[in-house]
C-alpha cells in the first residue's frame, strides 16, 4: 500500500496516542514481519478512521437537523429510496475494500512466503502444557522457556526461522515486537520467521487457551549480537558442568553426612527420584523429555515459564510444591522431606 508508511505525519500521531509504555505493544516493533504489519495497520487505521469520521458526521448532522419540533404533529414527506444514491454507497465502499485488500495481500505474501536465506538459524519450538521447548537442530541443543536468537543485520541478514509444533494441545507463539502470532498444533508443523534489528529482551506469552495455566505460559526472547549468541551456544552445548558425582559413581557418601545440605546429596536424591523421568541433565543419568531440560538451568533468569526469578528460594518453593506458584501445573509435588528438597535445590544451583 502506498498511502502512509513509517514517515507519514499521522504515524507519529499513532506512536504518541497508542504506544503507551508496554514491552508487548504491537506498535513497538523491531523485526521485519512485525514492522510490515505495523505499517499496514497504520494505513488501515487511517483509512477506516476517515470512514468513521465521515459517517459519524452524517449521523450527527441528521440528529441535529431533523429533530421533531415540539407540538409538530405533521408527518414529513415520505421518501422510499433512490437508486443513484444507493448505487453510490455500494460502489464507494467496494473501492475502499479493494484498496485495503490489495494492501493486505501484499504484506501477507511478503511475510508468509519469504524464502529462508542460507544464513538463517533454524529453531524448533515445541509447545507443552504450560512451557516452551526450544531445539536448535544444527547445534544439537535443547533448552526451555527462554529463547536466544542472534541479531539480524539488514546488510548481512541472519534471520531465525522457526518450525512450531505441539506435544499436547494447541498453543500460540506470540512476541508482539518480533512478529504476529503463529499457532503450535499437535501433529502439524507451522512456520514463522523473525529478524530482530535490536538487541534486548522481548516478552510475550501463549496466545491460545491451552488449559488451567494458559495465563502463566510466558515467553522470553533474548536477542544477542552474533558474537554473544555464539558464546551462549558454546556454553549451552557443553554437558552439565556440575562437579558433583552422580548416583552411579563409586564415590561413597558417608551416612552421617546425609543430614547436610550439599549438592552431592542433592544429586543423589534427584537421580534417585522420579525427577529424571521428566527432566534431562545432559551428561548424567537424567534423560527425561516430558519437562524442561535442566542442563544449564542456572543460565536462565526465570523458572516455571517465566513466572518467577530463578533464585534458590523460588526453586525450593517450586520443587516442594509447584501448585503453590502455578496451580494446575503438570509437575507433581514429590512429597519429599524439606531436607531433601533443600538438597535438590543445592544440586540444581550447580547446573550453570
Amino acid at each position: 500500500m502506498t498511502v502512509g508508511g513509517s514517515g507519514t505525519w499521522y504515524s507519529h500521531f499513532y506512536s504518541f496516542g497508542i504506544c503507551v509504555a508496554s514491552p508487548t505493544s504491537i506498535f513497538s516493533t523491531t523485526s521485519t514481519p512485525a514492522d510490515k504489519v505495523r505499517l499496514l495497520s497504520l494505513d488501515v487505521l487511517f483509512t477506516l478512521g476517515c470512514v468513521f469520521l465521515a459517517i459519524v458526521a452524517l449521523i450527527v448532522h441528521v440528529l441535529v437537523h431533523y429533530r421533531a419540533r415540539k407540538g409538530d404533529t405533521t408527518e414529513p414527506p415520505q421518501v422510499f429510496g433512490s437508486a443513484q444514491i444507493e448505487l453510490a454507497w455500494t460502489i464507494i465502499p467496494t473501492l475502499i475494500i479493494l484498496v485495503l485488500f490489495l494492501g493486505t495481500a501484499r504484506v501477507v505474501f511478503e511475510v508468509q512466503d519469504a524464502a529462508a536465506p542460507k544464513s538463517a538459524l533454524n529453531v524448533t519450538v515445541v509447545g507443552h502444557q504450560y512451557w516452551w521447548e526450544f531445539r536448535y537442530p544444527k547445534y544439537n541443543l535443547v533448552t526451555a522457556n527462554e529463547l536466544h536468537i542472534p541479531l539480524s543485520d539488514p546488510g548481512n541478514p541472519t534471520p531465525t526461522y522457526m518450525e512450531l509444533t505441539s506435544a499436547d494441545v494447541i498453543h500460540s507463539f506470540w512476541v508482539p515486537s518480533l512478529a504476529g502470532k503463529t499457532d503450535l498444533l499437535p501433529n502439524r508443523v507451522n512456520e514463522m520467521w523473525v529478524d530482530p534489528h535490536k538487541v534486548g529482551l522481548y516478552e510475550g506469552q501463549c496466545a491460545q487457551f491451552c488449559g488451567a495455566q494458559h495465563a502463566k505460559m510466558l515467553l522470553r526472547v533474548y536477542v544477542e549480537t552474533p558474537e554473544d549468541f555464539q558464546r551462549w551456544i558454546g556454553t549451552q552445548r557443553q554437558q552439565a558442568k556440575t562437579s558433583v558425582p552422580g548416583i552411579l559413581s563409586n564415590v561413597d557418601l558417608e551416612s552421617d553426612n546425609s543430614q547436610k545440605i550439599t549438592p552431592q546429596l542433592g544429586r543423589r536424591v534427584f537421580e534417585g527420584q522420579a525427577c529424571i523421568s521428566c527432566h534431562a541433565v545432559r551428561g548424567t543419568v537424567a534423560g527425561g523429555r516430558f519437562g524442561p531440560d535442566l542442563t544449564h538451568l542456572m543460565s536462565r533468569s526465570t523458572i516455571a515459564a517465566g513466572i518467577a526469578p530463578n533464585t534458590p528460594e523460588n526453586l525450593l518453593i517450586w520443587i516442594t510444591d509447584p501448585s503453590v506458584m502455578k496451580p494446575g501445573s503438570l509437575m507433581p509435588a514429590m512429597h519429599l522431606t524439606s531436607l531433601e528438597n533443600k538438597q535438590i535445590t543445592a544440586y540444581l544451583t550447580t547446573l550453570r
Binding site: P23, T90, I97
Partner: protein, 567 residues
C-alpha cells in the same frame, strides 16, 4: 382439584376468575399449567424472553467475576480453575442461552402479529423447541454439580466457548464437563433447528391476504434469513459435537492428534457454525432497527428492496468467511488472502444497511424516545464494531490482533453495543404490546445513559490492552505489561453497566404493575401488530387483516396519501 379447568389448556379469563373466587391457590396452578401446556406463539415468545433474561443475569454476574479478577495483576479473587469455568460458561451462556433465545422469543412473539396471522406455522413444534432448549440450559448448568474437568478439579466446562480440540479430548479433559457442554449444545441445537423451521415456514407460508413478498415487514425478511442461517450453521456444530463424543467414548480419532487426528478439523467445523452464528444473532438486531428507526423518524424505511437484498447478501457471504478465525493456524498465503477478501465483502451489505438507516432519518422528524435513543447508540456502535471487524479481517494485522483483548472488545461491541442495545430498544418498543403497559420513560432514560457510559468505559478501553499484547482467556497477567490501568477502567465500566441492568430489571417489574396503560398503538406506528389490542388476545386478530402496502396502518391513518398508491 380443578380438573375441569386443568384439562382445558386455554381457560377463558371468566373461567379463571370464577375458579379464583372459590380456590385462590388453585388459580396460580392453573396459570402455571396454562403456560406449560401452551402452544400460543405469544406465550412461548414471552417464555423464551424470560428464560433468556434469567441467563442474562447469570452470565452477567459471571462477567463481573471475570472483571474483578482482571482488575489488577496477579489477583487471587478466584482460582485459575474457577476463572476458566467462569469465562467458558459466560461465553456459552451468552451465545446459546441468552442471544439465541431472546431473539427467537421476539421473533415468535412478533412475526405472526406482523404478518397478520393467528399463530406460527407449527405451534406444537414451537412448544417442543422451547422446552428442549430450556432443558439444554438446565442440563448445562447441572454440570456445576455433575461434572469434573481439567486436572480433575473443575465442575462446569472449562475449555473456552469454542472448545478447541484436542484440549477437549479425554487425555486432557478427563471427567464429564466436556460431555455436559457437548450434549447441552446438541440439545439446544435441536431446539434452534425446530424454531428456525418454524420461523422460515411462517414467513413464507403464513401471511395475511395482500401481503406479497415485497410487502413483508423487514423484520419478517430478517427472521427468514436468520432461520436459513440457523439451518446452515447448526448442522456442522452438531456434527462436530457428535464426533467429539465418538472420540471420547467410542475410541474415535477425529480430533485425537496422538492417533493421527486433526486439531484444525474441529476449528473448521466450529467456525463454519461460529461465524454464521454471529449473523444469526446480529440480523434480528438489524430487524429491530428496521422497524424502530422509521417509526421514530416518521418516515418509511429508505430502500426497502436494497435492505432485503443486503440481508440476503450478508447471509450468503457470511457462510464463506469462517476461516478468518484461523489466520494464525498456518493456512497458506492464498487461504489467508481469500478469507481476507470474503470477510471484507461482508462490510458492503452491512454498510448499505447503515447508510439506509441514516437516509431514513434524513429529512424525517426524529422523536428521541427511549427505543430511538438505543437505536441511535446502536448505529454508532455498530459502525465502530464493523470497522474494527475490517481491521481484524486484514489477515496480516490479524496475526497480531487474533486472540487478543482487541478481539474481545470487537465482538463485545457487536454483542453488547449492537445486539444488546437493540434488544433493549425492542423491549421499550414492544413491551407495551406484550403487557399493555408502557415502560417508564424516565427510568428508561436513566437506563440508557448509564448503559452508554458503562458500555463505552468497558469496551472502548478494552481495545487498548489488546493492542498492547494482552491475550484473551488468561486468568491473570504480569504487572510489567502496561495493561493494569486500562483493565481498571474496564472493570469500573462493568459496574456502571451492572447498575444500568439493575435499573432495566426494576423498570420491567415496576412498569408491569404501575406502568401507564398503553392502548393498542402508543407509538403511532404502521405495522399490523399495532392494529390489535395490547396485549393481543389469544387469536391475535378478530378479523383477518387485509393489507395493500408495507405500512397498512399508515394507509389507514393517511387515506389521502396511502403507500399503496406508490408500491
Amino acid at each position: 382439584m380443578a380438573t375441569t379447568i386443568m384439562s382445558d389448556p386455554n381457560p377463558t379469563r371468566e373461567a379463571l376468575d370464577e375458579r379464583a373466587s372459590t380456590d385462590p391457590g388453585g388459580r396460580y396452578l392453573d396459570t402455571i399449567h396454562s403456560w406449560i401446556v401452551t402452544v400460543d406463539h405469544k406465550k412461548i415468545g414471552i417464555m423464551y424472553i424470560c428464560y433468556a433474561l434469567v441467563f442474562l443475569l447469570i452470565a452477567g454476574m459471571q462477567a463481573m467475576v471475570i472483571r474483578i479478577q482482571l482488575a489488577i495483576p496477579h489477583n487471587t479473587f478466584v482460582s485459575p480453575f474457577t476463572y476458566n469455568r467462569v469465562f467458558t460458561m459466560h461465553g456459552t451462556t451468552m451465545v446459546f442461552l441468552v442471544g439465541m433465545p431472546i431473539l427467537f422469543g421476539f421473533g415468535n412473539y412478533l412475526l405472526p402479529l406482523m404478518l397478520g396471522v393467528r399463530d406460527m406455522a407449527f405451534p406444537r413444534l414451537n412448544a417442543f423447541s422451547f422446552w428442549i432448549s430450556a432443558f439444554a440450559g438446565a442440563f448445562l448448568y447441572f454440570s456445576f454439580i455433575g461434572g469434573a474437568g481439567l486436572a480433575g478439579t473443575g465442575t462446569a466446562p472449562d475449555v473456552g466457548w469454542f472448545a478447541y480440540a484436542p484440549l477437549t479430548e479425554k487425555a486432557f479433559s478427563p471427567g464429564h464437563t466436556v460431555d455436559y457442554w457437548a450434549l447441552a449444545l446438541i440439545l439446544n441445537g435441536i431446539g434452534s433447528i425446530g424454531t428456525a423451521v418454524n420461523l422460515f415456514t411462517t414467513v413464507f407460508c403464513m401471511r395475511c391476504k395482500g401481503m406479497t413478498l415485497l410487502r413483508i415487514p423487514l423484520l419478517g425478511w430478517i427472521y427468514a434469513t436468520t432461520a436459513f442461517l440457523v439451518l446452515v450453521a447448526i448442522g456442522p456444530l452438531t456434527a462436530a459435537q457428535i464426533m467429539l463424543l465418538i472420540d471420547r467414548y467410542l475410541g474415535g480419532h477425529f480430533f485425537d492428534t496422538q492417533m493421527g487426528g486433526s486439531a484444525i478439523l474441529w476449528a473448521h467445523f466450529f467456525w463454519i457454525f461460529g461465524h454464521p452464528e454471529v449473523y444469526i444473532l446480529v440480523l434480528p438486531a438489524f430487524g429491530f432497527a428496521n422497524e424502530i428507526i422509521p417509526v421514530f423518524s416518521r418516515k418509511a424505511i429508505f430502500g426497502y428492496p436494497a435492505m432485503v437484498a443486503a440481508t440476503a447478501g450478508v447471509a450468503f457471504i457470511s457462510s464463506g468467511v469462517w476461516a478468518h478465525h484461523m489466520f494464525t493456524m498456518g493456512m497458506t498465503s492464498f487461504g489467508n488472502t481469500f478469507f481476507t477478501l470474503s470477510t471484507m465483502l461482508v462490510s458492503i451489505p452491512t454498510g448499505i444497511k447503515v447508510f439506509n438507516w441514516i437516509a431514513t432519518m434524513w429529512g424525517g422528524k426524529i422523536r428521541l424516545t427511549v427505543p430511538m435513543l438505543f437505536s441511535i447508540a446502536f448505529l454508532f456502535q455498530w459502525l465502530t464494531a464493523g470497522l474494527t471487524g475490517i481491521m481484524l479481517s486484514v489477515s496480516a494485522w490479524n496475526w497480531q490482533l487474533h486472540n487478543s483483548y482487541f478481539v474481545v472488545a470487537h465482538f463485545h461491541y457487536v454483542l453488547v453495543g449492537a445486539i444488546l442495545f437493540m434488544v433493549f430498544a425492542a423491549f421499550y418498543y414492544w413491551y407495551p404490546k406484550m403487557t399493555g403497559r408502557m415502560l417508564n420513560e424516565r427510568l428508561g432514560k436513566w437506563h440508557f445513559w448509564t448503559m452508554v457510559v458503562g458500555f463505552h468505559l468497558t469496551f472502548d478501553f478494552m481495545h487498548i490492552p489488546g493492542l498492547l499484547g494482552m491475550p484473551r482467556q488468561i486468568y491473570t497477567y504480569e504487572p510489567n505489561r502496561g495493561w493494569t490501568g486500562w483493565n481498571e477502567i474496564v472493570t469500573l465500566g462493568t459496574f456502571v453497566q451492572a447498575i444500568a441492568i439493575g435499573i432495566f430489571v426494576y423498570n420491567l417489574v415496576h412498569s408491569y404493575f404501575q406502568g401507564e396503560v398503553a392502548g393498542p398503538d402508543p407509538w403511532d406506528a404502521w405495522t399490523l401488530e399495532w392494529s390489535t389490542q395490547s396485549p393481543p388476545p389469544e387469536y391475535n386478530f378478530a378479523v383477518d387483516p387485509i393489507v395493500a402496502s408495507r405500512r397498512p396502518l399508515w394507509d389507514l391513518k393517511h387515506p389521502e396519501d396511502p403507500d399503496s398508491a406508490f408500491e
